[in-house]
Symmetry: C2
Subunit: 193 residues, 2 copies
DNA sequence: GTCTATAACGGGATAGAC
DNA sequence: GTCTATCCCGTTATAGAC
């Protein structure tokens, strides 16, 4: 892997583990096995590297999500596939965590990919749910946009609860809980199976 | 307000705004209008002050939540009162955000109040829901513990989405969404009112 | 109790040699 | 392209005077 590639990958890992404020150029260099001069040759500084790292992580997240939504099946099945997809629960969401980073939120350039990722995700899930409703799979009284926000929030909040507890359990429960609630709105579904 | 009090309050604010890693003793002192010597006279250092601040914030959160749960009404009404309570949505949850702070999570002493707060909250909401179920207000098929985790996750995730979007809208939608889902499980409720 | 000095260390970056 | 040297500043204290 080229030096710029290694620097970006190291930054991605550290951003995930320690956040932007908690990540120093020195730590990035050491993990990448690159010197100071090398890093500053390829990138203008910490914000530049972080931008490259965040963009790549956002793209990956989007691709991984789209993979589940594109699958054939009912709307609830597709959302379930997304929610139950394998995740590193205790590490949290690499994009969601940036939301708590004051320096990221203060910089419109760094913030944009975070904003766009969640906007896309909410809209995409709303589409899946609206499709399910139009097909008659889902209760017509269910608001696709609201419910999509709920689904994404359960995921992001599930990470928070898991990290607080030091266990994946609350994450699993939160996901099971929302799927249980959703099941009652599936017009072909059963309430207590 | 006494100097120790001002130091604790300043720390609470900064922890909320910038997190533990992003908060320096110097910033705390300046906001509190206290000198270095004064701070180190009353507290052994940054972790000690942070512990006092976190404990107080956790207590307040718990008291504010209990206030809503203790109100008379159906389980869904009490959970709704909690979810719709006035909040500084764009600032996020002062306890939940600590979950993303590597230095807080690495220190068992600082981490404990965070863990305990969410454990209490999930259990408390599960109790409210179980009570509603036993009273026949709620669908017997609904799992109180899972649903409680979902409710707390929606809140925590709602904060994340709101901060990402720079708007309270996704938070409101996520809350409306979960309440809409929950309504269908209220045995006396109506689906599409 | 509060103040000022001092210090060891790391963050974030620049300069110029190789 | 990569390396080492250097720099300035902020962090997180400690020491001792007042």
């Amino acid at each position: 892997m080229s030096t710029p590639e290694r620097l970006i990958e190291s930054t991605r890992e550290l951003l995930w583990e320690r956040g932007y404020v908690g990540t120093s150029p020195k730590a990035i260099q050491q993990r990448a096995g690159a010197g100071q001069g090398s890093m500053y040759h390829h990138f203008s500084g910490k914000p530049d590297l972080a931008l490259a790292a965040i963009r790549r992580t956002a793209e990956e997240l989007r691709a991984a999500a789209e993979e589940r939504f594109a699958v054939p099946g009912t709307a609830v099945e597709r959302v379930t596939a997304y929610l139950r997809r394998e995740r590193e629960v205790l590490k949290g969401c690499p994009i969601g965590r940036l939301t708590q980073d004051p320096d990221v939120m203060a910089d419109p350039v760094l913030r944009a990919p975070v904003d766009e990722t969640f906007a896309w995700l909410r809209a995409r899930i709303a589409d899946v749910l609206a499709e399910g409703r139009d097909r008659g799979e889902l209760d017509a009284g269910l608001d696709p946009a609201d419910t999509a926000s709920t689904v994404v929030a359960v995921l992001q909040g599930g990470y928070v609860l898991a990290r607080a507890a030091g266990s994946e359990e609350p994450f699993r429960r939160a996901v099971d809980g929302v799927l249980g609630l959703l099941a009652a709105h599936a017009t072909t579904g059963h309430r207590a199976d």
